[in-house]
Amino acid sequence: MRETDILREVLKKYDLVLPVLPREQRRIYRSKRRTLASVLGVDRRSTLFTSSVVRFYYMMRNSGMNITLAGAARGAVFAAVTAVLLFTGGGILLFQNYFHTPVFIAGKAPVQDGYIAAAGDMKLYRNGVESLSVEAPYKVEPGDEIVTGDSSALLQFDNGAVVKVMRKSSLLVVSIGPQYRFDLRGGGVVSRVPRLAEGAFYEVHTPDAVVSVKGTEFGVIYGDSKTTVFVAEGTVRVKHIPGGAEYDVSGGNSTEVNGEKRVNVLTEGEAVIMKGFSGFHHVESLNGKNRDELKAISEMLAAADRAESQGTAAKRMTLAELKEKYGRLDEVILYSGRRYTGVIISRGGVYKILTAGGIVSVPAKEIKGSGVIQ
């Protein structure tokens, strides 16, 4: 037995030991904390703050940190503030996620001018700066530029207009209601515009064309320095800016805007785009929609995008891309005088021609001739 242990035995033998039970020892330790809090407290009474400071002090000391009481007080305050901030922030996030519809970032309620859905990688530039956290419903303002990536974006406006900004497009919102003007810088946009009031107008501008309506459903595509307008319902007025030519395009027709004023029937690709758009309507009380309702619209938009991709895989291909892919470009001339430029992908009773606007089917008996042009 070691001498130190023997000493304990000696103390026991001579009745110099006053054993304290382990349970009491733990109580004494708790009492130590309480008493220090009381000694430091106002009027010798412990407060929540002094108790917290003392608890923090002993927690740090027991973990091996040589901290002073003043340091513990500062640490306790810091820890409390951090905890409150984290708790509050976490609470707000939880509240937003589970109990509340998305919050309007620009709060002019009630606001109907906004996105219903912004599927995928859409960006919004305001005053040249990319806006963060753009989430439906989000208010758009004149001067905003909407740039879509691999997904379309859907907008609606107070006059009941519904606008779909197609994939890989850039649209500048120049003015909003009652005189709407959008500048299409690239890609495509499809609109459904209810009949406008007197003095109101709705225009889509491209670098070389102006398309204005009084009430219709139509699409505009700008690519390779050409503007294509296709109309599902009603009539649009098209103006070719360089040549000054103006003409109407009625429902079921499309046109490549130039001085020729030529109007054709909708291509298959254009029809698919308009069919996909027909399911979108102006939504009343957009602000009141919950997450699930907004998600449903977003999913519908994504489904329309997929249908466009599958049905008109090549509709967005330019002539240069077609030539690169197929190694040639064909020109098909009809007896009616109409010409199709693209790639003939099937012959027989019905010719199928892959053009920049999509696949066109033409009965063989209507074809006057065809040939490779480039």
């Binding site: 130190t4 000493l7 304290v20 009491e24 000694v39 003043a70």
Partner: protein, 179 residues
């Protein structure tokens, strides 16, 4: 604001250091006398409040605390009007009732420990008292004194060595002889 003022008091670090060193010993000393946990806590609190108020004039914290302790116990029971409790009796050492050599040896050992505790007057003494007298485990004692386990083991053996040396001075060459 009062807490901030107290924490900026120049004596606060000395007070907290002494508080950490002696609280458990003082509490156990009171508890062994009054045998009531709540009374012991109240009395201990009063002792340390007085200690805090007089920290500037206290030279030897241990002596001051144990001197104050008896006074506070007396005041406490007088305030509570517990006239049936004899305070002097609380401080009587039961061991003194023994007779013959047993009593003398006991007195000698106690004197040695008291003397060393008064001389050293730091956590080593408190640690020795907690472990050897109040039967604390090293884990619990180190927690009470804000030490780690190894520090507690080392300090305890160091203080025990001093006790053995003192007993040696008093003619006890082999501690085992006392068993």
């Amino acid at each position: 604001m009062k807490l901030r003022k107290r924490l900026s008091d120049p004596g606060i670090d000395r007070f907290v250091d002494s508080y950490d060193s002696y609280y458990s010993v003082v509490f156990n000393s009171i508890y062994s006398k009054v045998s009531n946990y709540h009374d012991a806590e109240d009395i201990c609190q009063e002792v340390f409040i007085r200690f805090y108020d007089n920290i500037a004039v206290v030279e030897n914290p241990r002596k001051w605390l144990f001197g104050c302790l008896r006074l506070v116990v007396f005041d406490y029971y007088r305030m509570k009007q517990k006239k049936d409790i004899d305070v002097d009796e609380l401080f009587e050492d039961i061991g003194m009732g023994y007779v013959n050599g047993f009593r003398d040896t006991r007195m000698m050992i106690k004197e040695v420990i008291d003397e060393l505790c008064a001389q050293e007057g730091d956590r080593d003494a408190s640690l020795f008292e907690l472990v050897a007298v109040y039967n604390y485990s090293f884990v619990q004692a180190s927690r009470q004194l804000n030490l780690n386990y190894k520090q507690a083991r080392y300090r305890y053996s160091r203080f025990s060595g001093k006790v053995l040396a003192k007993l040696n001075e008093r003619g006890i060459n082999n501690i085992e002889d006392l068993l």
